[in-house]
Symmetry: C2
Subunit: 193 residues, 2 copies
Amino acid sequence: MKLLEERILRDGYVKEGNVLKVDSFLNHQIDIELYNEMGREFRRLFPGDTITKILTIEVSGIGIACVAAQYFHVPVVFARKSHSINLDDDVYTARVQSYTHKREYDIIVSRRYLTGEDNVLIIDDFLANGCAVNGLLELVRGAGATVEGVGIAIEKGFQEGGRLLRGSGIRVESLAVVESMDAATGAVTFRRT
Amino acid sequence: MKLLEERILRDGYVKEGNVLKVDSFLNHQIDIELYNEMGREFRRLFPGDTITKILTIEVSGIGIACVAAQYFHVPVVFARKSHSINLDDDVYTARVQSYTHKREYDIIVSRRYLTGEDNVLIIDDFLANGCAVNGLLELVRGAGATVEGVGIAIEKGFQEGGRLLRGSGIRVESLAVVESMDAATGAVTFRRT
């Protein structure tokens, strides 16, 4: 998505440790017109009428998912992160390994809001190693729901998450796929398909 | 706002400890059409053209703020909760006392995204004791920004937050003000103005 790529080039910057900072428009301060165009693009990429729910994860996925959901006319459910063991029978749980923060946490979603009848589009802001998305997929499978696909704002194409997910047959659509980035020069290049 | 009140009566429920559960439509599963009507109503309540930014706080405020922001055509900034001391000079910090979770935490916002030029509308899902909103107000004041007002989805009118804020001269608009609720009977009544 040209608009997002141009914005990354203009306002994003690369930090040491493979970090792409986009907090001036995507995940601390939010350009709502950009979110709107992203939502429209997700709808173009997933035009089917079978999607019943959009699933995301707190924190940064929520705004993107909510704005996108307006184009799908389906509810959003966001998984919560939990740092304590959850013994509640009313939730589906998955364990997520965070590479960024070097720790594990659980994500949970209420059984009431994800069922075997659901056809789920997963939306998140970033895809790198795929840990969060894999956790969300585990929640979907736990509920007996079907995965329609995964919509990502920015994929780090040089990390393995996207390749592994696509290899397992899941449809992954990323609005911008970063092919390479360099903290020393600040250069960012995108994948051309 | 009649639509929200009716929804609370239909799908919300009261739990012991003054808890109003609305997670089937407001803050775990999200009815995006409802969010849209809420956003439209916030705009009706704050029609001025001086607002430059909507400020909210993770987690549950983000979706509401993003959908509302479409009617204001301004960016959203969300404050992050931090459980560790933050020594970063680039952020404004405020300490928030959480009555629900019986603990304190810091909220932070980057100095880059809140400045003395900003005229800020604060939006959040709940107002009870007003701790979160007061923290957000402290961030706004720290930045030298102006507060345009506070927009709340559900105010617990029997707790003191709303009264204290209004008493200090801040314009607070809540889409639904719960006058009383009873976990034993499940009854919820709303304030009539």
